[in-house]
Symmetry: C2
Subunit: 618 residues, 2 copies
């Protein structure tokens, strides 16, 4: 299945964008007119560059305000269209997108619109070109795919077909099913964009908030399947207007973009029908089957270990902290400066051998996931463009397959404890029980402009599903959170980002990562360590807004814990100071099946961390 | 007139926010509950700090989901309310805001709502406190000020009054006039927020996009006047939820905030009526008059000079450029390293004596405006919290009054040419005429998070009005622009900002400032200097989309100019390379009264600058 991307999705000069598209493995591009107009390269030079990069120009777009023009204006439309056909010939493009008119003088007359489009199709046909006509969701009179299809059918010209755009369709309706009944060869082009569900003006929604497929909440999988069911065999092409992507590194965005199409294609099936590349007149058919062979995500069953980078400052702090929590330093890596610490089923590696991370860089360097098929997990990750990590395997060391997440975190896949053989026993045993039973979840702070990329990566590569999502007012700005989890909730990741890139005012690292440990006895755990004090105001408010049994209320206040509840149960949280300004450890107890993450308490936690830092400085 | 600000408008810890409010000169604050709950300071400590800072707590807010509670839930409401009254007593606050219920179980029964609010008012009254009841625009059943007033009237308790919030009213209706007929003493509180006109879910609009008064498009002046006309005499208080302000330096935001209230108050008149501080029973009246005495903005009549900072790199470049443009170095400052260059009525100062500006800092250090009353202009600026610049006047030097804009640009006010006496004539005279007649406008790039602040500053301090505004897709991200101008269009400033803080990908200084000179003969000016080449694609597109007379079309292409038009005329633009990565000079010709700024051409200009920089590096 061919993949394509509109240049408007990416940032930089037109050349930057083409390079990025090719680098990410796209087969083709849509040339967006404004990007070409601003380019210093001639159409011929762009054609050459596209060819050199192994790309193809799948579409030239958009041509506006064509159909429904008052007859006296139509001569101007023809002149303008002829100029664009000349340009397309120079570019080597053979399909042009005409989007439905928005001009105030547009005439509401389908017969006129059809006749005019037919005339333009004749002009295109003479040049061996064709027109894909698209209904903009905010078109003056034509704003639904059904209406655009009526006009195309009425115009009845072989060089005139439909362009379907998932955003324009799904922003207006969920009833797209009839698309499957269209004659597939009259769908000339398919543009894909996802979006969050926003209740706002559709033009502004479209211009600023589009996302790549599976990053938003539109039903991209169902929609795309309908178009394939109709018999469409052209490229899956992305057309995403997004404020963040427009200013981000285009190479990175292009990889994110193509990952979204690979993940989407993995959900699609190709109906039985004529094969894709057939000589004219051939009637060869293929059986129905998956569209692309994407390795299914193997089931996961827990976080085998978390690796923290430590340095001269944080190493001793973490040593003390882990010991207080009842962890024992049970193993030392055979060849690396890595310590294994264990308590309950929680395993933490402290790596002091890695280069000291830069300011603001992640402290959680890596984590390992229990997979029912580690090789398949790694294969799926690679298929989804996760960067494979070089295996630095020495003789007698476990062969852990690993990939790198976009945020730099390394993800290992393992099955069972064979990797423990890499560690020489220190002889220390876990004696001091403090209630810690397991790793509950990891909180991976992301830069403001990588929220959607990170969410798609963790969802698609690891096969995780969305859990709790939220937005809250932290002391230094709004923060968005999204938790993703596996089926049995033993793998949980919480992603969080500031809503905007912060100004100089906010603390340099306002948003550290955290490792959350599960305890079955918070009181016992709390007795073992010094946690960050929670202000009395919090408890006064908690007492005012909840009606906890007196015993629980006293416990929460006495322990200095944060409290949350959901329909399943209750949640108590404690946390340590931020170590080295980059990571803290949270201890939680889940009572009666509570499923959340206590996100609503994050502002209080952040303010408490801030206050403690100010105190420790003073 | 007292001014107040809700802590939620600002960033940082509660203490940071209080300090900032006091620093900007506010009289009071609204304590936002979440800010208090997260604070490590006790209510008593906050009360003390507020007092030490000379502030007053004008409101505690919000108390939610009180009225219309099902009777079985109301006991919980009472318990919660009692806890908050206790808290208010500790804080020393005497007014609490209750906003209309949004809870799904709310009962649609005005009599019940009134009875419940009356009960809560009795509880407050016992403590010497009172309730300001506010209709949220998205309240479950009570969402208009009329409805909230009906319930307050029905409840009939002296400790229960209205809170009016400009956003909640104006986001729903422009028909606020009847507010003037309310009994003013039943309006217990007035919250002010402006906003851009956005067609979106009102809750999201309110949570993310509120602005300070006169920064948006709501009719704050008319609304506030109506409330004063009703007889309200409490503080003007700001309650603004804004993604940018929430993460910006609170000291700066607080100054911006208070400036908005001062500018707003300057538009208001106080109706005749009882004086503000009156003993009970007193019937003393005051005559109608302005609410606050803000010096009216004197008329402006042009840009007297622009001062550019130059260094060893840019100095010689600018020398050559100005000379090519026909400017003559006519004067040398008596005591500073400042040169005066003149051509037509355009005067440019080159200052090589100032400290070298930091990367990304403005190149346009200062500009001077012709004012009919320079002293009054400066007085108004100071009243609006513009930072006055120290006068570094030496004997026999002109006493130019000056203030500093938030972006650091220095603004001088002058009348006539007396300041020219500071310059010793060099003997050079303007011999080479190249058509330049005047300074057309200045483009002042702003950081992404200071757009609204800058717009308010230039509008209010200089008495400028909004001209063209736009948003366009530049090669490295979206850019917003706003032009402001004086009455006769001889003072024009174009503000522009990236929509987001840029990532590492975008060039370090993607958005230089510019000085635009007006010519009456672009061909003559163009012949004199080397301009940045405009790509052929631009002209091909221009030919396709316009139908220019052949002569003009040829001229535009031959000159390498950009072209724009409006209903009044046409516009031709040329520009130089970016000097020192921070400033370029643009030459424009306005034909037949064109009024715009050619913003639509900015992406092409930016791409051309980018291409030239890449070439000059290669």
């Amino acid at each position: 299945m061919r993949t394509s991307i509109a240049t408007v999705c990416l940032s930089g000069t037109l050349e930057d964008r083409l390079d990025a598209a090719a680098g990410a493995g796209f087969d083709g591009v849509e040339i967006f007119e404004n990007d070409l107009v601003a380019s210093v390269s001639s159409p011929e030079a762009i054609r050459q560059r596209v060819a050199d990069l192994g790309l193809r120009i799948d579409l030239y777009q958009p041509f506006r305000d064509a159909e429904g023009a008052p007859p006296e204006r139509f001569a101007t439309v023809e002149r303008r269209f002829r100029a664009k056909l000349d340009l397309m010939a120079r570019l080597g493009a053979d399909t042009v997108l005409i989007c439905s008119s928005v001009a105030p003088d547009t005439v509401d007359d389908d017969a006129l619109a059809a006749a005019q489009l037919r005339r333009l199709a004749e002009m295109a046909d003479e040049r061996g070109m064709r027109i894909a006509y698209e209904a903009l969701a905010w078109g003056r009179f034509v704003s639904t795919w059904e209406h655009s299809w009526e006009i195309v059918r009425h115009a009845e010209h072989p060089a005139l077909g439909l362009c379907l755009d998932s955003f324009h369709v799904l922003s207006r309706t969920d009833a797209y099913g009839k698309i499957a009944g269209l004659p597939g060869d009259r769908i000339f082009f398919l543009q894909l964009a996802d979006a969050p569900r926003l209740d706002m003006d559709v033009l502004q929604w479209s211009r600023h908030h589009r996302l790549f497929p599976l990053q938003g909440r539109l039903d991209l999988a169902g929609f795309t399947q309908s178009v394939l069911d109709a018999g469409y065999r052209g490229p899956l092409s992305l057309e995403v207007f997004n404020d963040v992507f427009r200013q981000a590194d285009p190479h990175r965005t292009a990889v994110d973009a193509r990952r979204s199409l690979i993940a989407l294609a993995g959900t699609l099936t190709r109906p039985a029908g004529p094969s894709e590349t057939r000589p004219a007149g051939s009637r060869e058919t293929r059986p129905a089957g998956p569209c692309e062979t994407l390795t299914p995500a193997p089931a996961l069953d827990g976080i085998a270990f978390v690796e923290l980078g430590v340095d001269a400052e944080t190493g001793p702090e973490l040593d003390n902290l882990l010991r207080a929590l009842g962890f024992a330093h049970t193993g030392q890596h055979r060849s690396k400066a890595v310590q294994l610490w264990e308590q309950g089923s929680a395993r933490i590696l402290l790596n002091s051998g890695a280069p000291r991370p830069a300011e603001g860089e992640a402290a959680i360097r890596a984590f390992a996931l229990e997979s029912t098929d580690p090789a398949a997990s790694a294969r799926r990750a690679a298929e989804l463009l996760a960067e494979p990590l070089p295996r630095r395997r020495r003789q007698s060391e476990a062969d852990l397959t690993a990939v790198s997440a976009p945020d730099g975190t390394e993800i290992f896949f393992c099955r069972g404890d064979y990797w423990l053989d890499d560690f020489l026993p220190t002889g220390e045993t876990r004696t001091r029980e403090t209630g810690i039973t397991a790793i509950d979840h990891l909180s991976l702070a992301q830069p403001f402009d990588r929220y959607d990329e990170a969410a798609l990566f963790y969802r698609s590569v690891l096969g995780l599903t969305d859990d709790e999502a939220g937005e809250f007012a932290a002391p230094f700005g709004l923060v968005r959170t999204l938790a993703v989890r596996n089926a049995n909730r033993r793998v949980r990741l919480a992603l969080s980002v500031p809503l905007l890139r912060r100004g100089d005012w906010a603390p340099a690292v306002p948003h550290p990562q955290s490792l959350t440990l599960l305890t079955d006895d918070l009181a016992r755990t709390a007795a073992a360590l010094e946690t960050v004090p929670i202000p009395g105001n919090y408890y006064d408010d908690l007492d005012a807004r909840t009606d906890l049994p007196p015993e629980l209320r006293d416990t929460v206040r006495k322990l200095g814990a944060l409290y949350d509840s959901d329909e399943h149960g209750q949640y108590l949280q404690l946390f340590t100071p931020v170590l080295g300004h980059r990571v803290f450890i949270e201890i939680v107890q889940r009572i009666g099946g509570y499923r959340g993450y206590g996100f609503a308490n994050d502002p209080v936690r952040m303010a408490a961390h801030r206050a403690q830092r100010l105190v420790s400085r003073a």
